[in-house]
Amino acid sequence: MAVERTIRHIKALATGAKYMLGGHRLTLMYPDDIQEFPDGYRGMIEYDWDTCIKCGLCAMVCPADAMKMYVSKEESEEGKRPVRRPGINYTRCIFCGFCVDICPTNSLKFTKVHDVAFYTFEEQIYPPEKFREGIPKPQYDKEPRKVRAVLDEKRGIRYEPVE
C-alpha cells in the first residue's frame, strides 16, 4: 500500500515535470492574437431596418427580456399610429439566438463580434434607431494577428495564423 502510494506520488511529480519542460501553452494571447470564429458564432446582433415586418416575435421569445419593442417616433408621427420596432439591451442579452431563429424575415443576424467595451451603462442599450446603425467596430492598439484554433491529438489546442 505504502509502496503503491509512493509510486503514485512519483508518477504525479513526473507528469508535472513533463508539462513544465514541455514548453507548450494553451493561452490565446488575446489582444495580440484574435481568434477567427466558425460560421454560426453567436456574437452581437445586426438588425435590418428595411426587411423587418415589426411582428414582435423577437421580443416575445427573448428569455432574458433583452429584446423589446420600442415606439419608433418618426414613423409613428408619419403614420399617425404607434409603430413599434425591436431594440436590444446588451446588459441583459445572453446571446441565446432565439430572436435570430424566430425572425420570419431574417432581419436579425449574428455577427462574429463580441469584444466591445462600453463606458456607460446606457451605451449598452440599443433602441431601434441605434440598432439599425450596426455594431461598434472593435478597436485594437495595433492590428492583431488572426488565428484559428486547431485540435491537435498530441498537444491539445494549437493556434494557426489565418491569412
Binding site: A2, A12, G16, Y19, R25, G156
Partner: protein
C-alpha cells in the same frame, strides 16, 4: 566609505544583514514568488505573470506587487485586538528570519560559532507559528481563528518528526555544530548516508511553511486566507513573506545537513566567504524551487490527512532514520 565597507564585511554584521540575513532573504522573496507562479503556469500550460517587463517574462512582477502592498491602505478593523493585530506581522517576519544568525556561510565565516548551533536554529524556527496562532485570535474573525487553530494542529504534527530527523544527522556526525556538520561532509553528503532522514525533513519542511500539499492553515478555497484574512497592505505583505523566509532558512539548514553545505570547495577558497556562500545559496535555492514546483502538482490535503502523514508515517520514519544513523556509526566505527 572604506570603514563602512569593512564594518559591513564583518561576519557579525554581514550574516544578519546581507547573507544569509535580511537582504538576500528579501531579494529571494521577490524572485521566488514570481518563479512559483511561473512554474505553476508552465505546468498548467499557461503563461503566468508576463506583462511587467515582458522581455524577461514578467520577472519584476513582485516589485510591482510590493509597491501595491506598500501604497495600499492597511485597514485595521474596529473589533480586533489592536496591539496584537499590528505587532504580529512584524514579529512573525522577524521570528521567521531570526534563525539566519546562527547559520554559517563558510568554515571560517559566521556570526558566532556555538557547539549547539543546529539546536539554536531549530529552536528559533519554532517561534514563528506562535504568532500565527496569536494572529488568528487577535483578528476576531472566524476564518482567522480556524486558520490559527489549523496552524496549531499542523505544528504539533510536523515539529517532532522534523527535529528527530534533523537530530539523526547530528547523531551521525557526532556534533550539533553546523560548521562541523558541513565540514564532516567533505567526502560523502548526508543525503546519501541517510536518505530516509533527508526525505522526512524535506516533506516536513514544506509542511511547516504551508507549501502546497500542506497549505492547510491558509487554505484559500476553504477559509479565505486563514489567519491572514483580516490583513491588508504592507501588513499582509509581511505575513505572506514570512512563510517564504522560513522556508529559505530551513532550506539553508537542509543544505548544510544533507547537501554538504559549502562542499565541494577547493581548499584555498575556503577562507573566502564568497564562493562557499554562493554554493550554499544555490543548494538552498534548488530546495525552494522544488517546493514551488509542488504547488503545481498537488491538491491540498485535508487536515486529518496531513496529521496522519505527520504522526503515522513521518514519525516512524524519523525514528528509523535515527536507527540508520546509529547502525552506520557502528559499521564505520565511531563518528
Amino acid at each position: 566609505m572604506q570603514d563602512l565597507l569593512s564594518v559591513i564585511m564583518e561576519p557579525y554584521v554581514f550574516v544578519p544583514l546581507i547573507f544569509p540575513g535580511i537582504t538576500v532573504a528579501f531579494l529571494l522573496l521577490l524572485v521566488i514568488i514570481w518563479l512559483e507562479r511561473k512554474i505553476a503556469a508552465k505546468v498548467q500550460l499557461r503563461y503566468g505573470p508576463l506583462y511587467v517587463l515582458k522581455p524577461l517574462g514578467g520577472a519584476i512582477q513582485m516589485v510591482a506587487d510590493l509597491l501595491r502592498y506598500l501604497f495600499q491602505e492597511p485597514i485595521i478593523p474596529k473589533t480586533v485586538d489592536k496591539l496584537a493585530f499590528i505587532m504580529t506581522p512584524a514579529l512573525l517576519f522577524g521570528a521567521a528570519y531570526l534563525p539566519t544568525i546562527a547559520i554559517p556561510v563558510s568554515p571560517t565565516f559566521y556570526a558566532f560559532r556555538n557547539d549547539l548551533s543546529l539546536l539554536i536554529v531549530l529552536a528559533l524556527s519554532t517561534l514563528a507559528p506562535i504568532f500565527t496562532v496569536v494572529m488568528g485570535w487577535a483578528s476576531n474573525n472566524k476564518f482567522s481563528l480556524i486558520g490559527g487553530v489549523r496552524e496549531g494542529y499542523i505544528v504539533v504534527s510536523y515539529e517532532i518528526p522534523m527535529f528527530l530527523s534533523a537530530l539523526s544527522m547530528a547523531v551521525l556526525y557526532g556534533s550539533l555544530d553546523l560548521v562541523e556538520i558541513a565540514e564532516a561532509q567533505k567526502g560523502i553528503w548526508g543525503i546519501f548516508l541517510n536518505p530516509v532522514a533527508a526525505i522526512t525533513m524535506l516533506v516536513l519542511m514544506y509542511m511547516s511553511t504551508s507549501k502546497f500539499p500542506f497549505e492547510i492553515p491558509e487554505a484559500e478555497s476553504e477559509i479565505v486566507a486563514g489567519a491572514y484574512t483580516e490583513y491588508s497592505g504592507i501588513l499582509y505583505g509581511l505575513v505572506m513573506g514570512a512563510s517564504y523566509v522560513k522556508l529559505y532558512v530551513l532550506s539553508l539548514v537542509f543544505a548544510i545537513l544533507f547537501l554538504g553545505g559549502w562542499n565541494p570547495i577547493p581548499g584555498f577558497m575556503a577562507n573566502d566567504p564568497l564562493l562557499p556562500g554562493v554554493l550554499l545559496f544555490i543548494k538552498a535555492f534548488i530546495i525552494i524551487v522544488i517546493g514551488a514546483f509542488l504547488r503545481a502538482v498537488y491538491p491540498r490535503f485535508r487536515i486529518d490527512q496531513a496529521m496522519d502523514l505527520g504522526w503515522k508515517t513521518m514519525l516512524p520514519l524519523s525514528i528509523i532514520s535515527i536507527f540508520i544513523s546509529l547502525v552506520e556509526i557502528m559499521i564505520m566505527g565511531g563518528a
